[in-house]
């Protein structure tokens, strides 16, 4: 897994589906939707995030891991047993697919953090403990990579076209209330499974189309606060940015959006003073977290889904609603493929988020 050291720019397709009532549905729709945008990827990366898929283990952290070899697995499992009660550890079920070659060892674990260890450490919150464990495995255990670590959710990704990856992981057999997907068009060929999207941390998952020109500014800021950008990919910093702003800084998702894709100063100056002051301060304090360059992203969370474009809309994004469903995709046709006549279809403006929260 030496490719951890390379940064690979890539173009892509993304889509997401959410049932606002929290009703679960199989992975077939998302596979069909992303498959329509086959042209936007090149077979070098595909992946999915699904929420609500592990109801029987919903109180445990579900870790998905890639291992390059048995040693990495042994070392990681030793680490996991030290830091967690391992409720279950198993191979993630896969199908043999002709086009999917040389997969790593793919395992999942349902984990309960060791509360005594948390007490002994200087970490107060359970999530921070899990976060630091993920960072440790990904940074220090050679050949091991945690690619999913949330509760009742999971990422499934690899090298291949997304529809084949979906087939490989048997996603038709899972049921979730939010699904996001990604088809990747990387500009070189690392052949490393960890490089595919989504990028996740705890309950967050991000699929992303575009390349971030502020990458190193964002990365070097986040690394001051314990994030280790082991993968050197743009998308990883987006995931960490939201984790930092929302979970660690306690800001709302809407406020976080105003930080990563803030209005231009010229727009801010035109706003009423109170709002202008608010936005000015956000831009000032978190200027290093402005995400610059072209992007459209879909952020998955346990309680909803957010889609967002960069401020000058350099990547495509279409949204639609139909009944209980919210759809977002790089292309309108990807939505119509699974929902031919949505009630409403629209193109969100740059920097204007599409946010869907589960109705409680």
């Amino acid at each position: 897994m030496d490719s951890k050291n390379f940064r690979i720019p890539s173009g892509c397709s993304i889509c997401g589906i959410m049932n606002k009532k929290g009703r679960v549905f199989s992975g077939n729709d998302i596979i069909q939707s992303i498959a329509l945008m086959h042209e936007r990827s090149n077979g070098l990366g595909g992946g999915f995030a699904a929420y609500g898929i592990y109801p029987e283990y919903k109180n445990y952290y579900a870790f998905h891991l890639f291992y390059s070899d048995k040693n990495a697995k042994e070392e990681t499992e030793h680490f996991l047993h030290q830091h967690f009660d391992v409720i279950l550890g198993e191979k993630i079920p896969t199908r043999k697919i002709k086009s999917i070659k040389n997969p790593p060892l793919i395992w999942r674990y349902f984990l309960k953090p060791d509360s005594k260890r948390i007490l002994l450490s200087d970490i107060e919150e359970e999530n921070d403990y899990v976060f630091s464990c993920v960072m440790k495995i990904n940074t220090y255990i050679k050949g091991a990579y945690v690619f999913s670590s949330g509760k009742n959710m999971g990422a499934f990704k690899g090298v291949g076209y997304p529809e084949d990856i979906g087939d490989f992981y048997r996603l038709d057999e899972y049921k979730g209330y939010i699904w996001t997907a990604h088809g990747r068009f990387p500009t070189n060929t690392p052949g490393w499974w960890g490089g595919a999207h989504p990028f996740t941390l705890l309950d967050w998952s991000v699929v992303h189309n575009g390349e971030i020109s502020s990458y190193d500014t964002n990365r070097r800021f986040l690394e001051m606060y314990g994030y280790k950008c082991a993968l050197q990919t743009d998308t990883e910093v987006i995931t960490y940015t939201f984790d930092y702003l929302v979970r660690k800084q306690g800001l709302s998702l809407e406020t976080a959006v105003k930080i990563v894709a803030p209005p231009f100063w010229s727009e801010i100056e035109r706003l009423p003073k109170k709002e202008a002051d608010f936005l000015r301060t956000l831009r000032y304090v978190y200027s290093s977290l402005l995400i610059n360059g072209p992007f459209s992203i879909i952020l998955g969370m346990s309680n909803g889904m957010l889609a967002l474009n960069d401020r000058i809309k350099l990547r495509p994004l279409t949204a639609a609603v139909h009944g209980e469903f919210l759809y977002v995709a790089s292309e309108e046709s990807a939505i119509r493929e699974i929902c031919p006549q949505p009630h409403r279809v629209w193109a969100p403006k740059g920097g204007e988020p599409v946010i869907g929260f589960l109705e409680k």
Binding site: E211, D216, T217, M224, G250, E275, T281, L282, I312
Partner: protein, 500 residues
Amino acid sequence: MALSFKMPEFLIKRQVETCSKCLLCVKQCANKVHYYDEKNDSFLTADENCVGCHRCAVICPTRSIYILKYPLEFRRNAYWTEETIKQIYKQAESGGILLAGTGTDRDYPIYWDKILINASQVTNPSIDPLREPMELKTFLGRRPKAITVEGKEIKEEIPPKLELEVPIMFAAMSFGAISLNAVKSLAKAAQKKGTYYNTGEGGLHRDLYQYGSNTTVQVASGRFGVHPDYLNAGAAIEIKIGQGAKPGIGGHLPGEKVGEEVSKTRMIPLGSDAISPAPHHDIYSIEDLRQLIFSLKEATDYKKPVGVKIAAVHNIAAIASGIARAGADFIVIDGFRGGTGAAPQRTRDNVGIPIELALAAVDSRLRDESIRNEVSLVVSGGIRNSADVIKAIALGADAVYIGTAALIALGCHMCQKCYTGKCNWGIATQDPQLTKRLDPEIGAQRAANLIKAWKHEIKDMLGGMGINAIESLRGNRLMLRGIGLTDTELKILGIKAAGE
């Protein structure tokens, strides 16, 4: 009197056929190089007085004056160079410390020129700055560690900050070291371009109070002209600990330069030497710096950001970290190429380190300590053009100061004789006959033009990198690559080699 070994540096030639004998050269040269012999209707030159400032050549209406290197060949010697030999002659004659003006002219590596900038191709569109928004607005100040939002209100009080329309400010140059017209030019230009100039340690002349909102007032060891009105007149306060051209030593404005206006502004007697001690005598340690920072904040009601300027020296990273923790809102690091009106030449040429390395080391250290976001970083000391600005920001600076470049915009020709007080361009002088040559309106326009041109160039390069807000360049070292650098230098700069 013993024979002097000093020989001229320049040879003046006059093309007699075209010379109109307007005598402008004779009238304008403060160094008394040109003489007109009325009896013989011919010109004489005192070559040994020429400093190479070009004034006569530039104003000559018929382009009849040539300034050449004086033809005096020394036997080739790679070790005992002409320069070395001449310096020994001078010191043997005078017994004095060699004095020099402007930043060091020695052939040290210029790291700016060994750093290359990135641009987008295919995977990321470059942004067209002429047609799409391109934001250079920059703030300098202390950022809170975290904020709490309630509704659309932020609970924490945000400390005072400077707002710059472009990440370039005019560096500290005192009234005294430079003329009032030069200071006025920079003040007006700062106002036009939405940035700041810096008073240096020379106090604030009454004519300059109107530019207060574009002024940073400096507090240095001499405390010249420091009083409550002064402190409150500017938008920010800068404590000057040291300067890149002469780290570790103080300053000395000779009594000859302390005329009536300088005397009033500095609040010292007419004609007396203005001596700035090497250290602040209320700062012998880092906790004392905190005391000075907070005394200034108290005196200005916590309404102005307070910064600290230091020279780039070996242990700069640790020092900067200490300054951040002492409560400074911004830190200014002045590299060893920083300019000066007068500095001992040995110090100017041998003490300190390059700003590129100092900046990279400081930015990295502040990040290692997780405090980079809480303090702003300004660098100075040899910023020559907009590419240097881009590179400085990508290495980690929030903004830069330009001093020498600004003076060149006003007309400085880099003769390096600022300390003589005979600046023919009306910049580094207090002689009214000379200072009137610099019209502050024209000076302001030239300095403003320079900023305007650099601003366009910065936008062009930012757009090329696919970035449309300057804050996304700050510390973005992946946008830089090194060329012809050793592994150690690359490591300190935190950049990869070209091709990597």
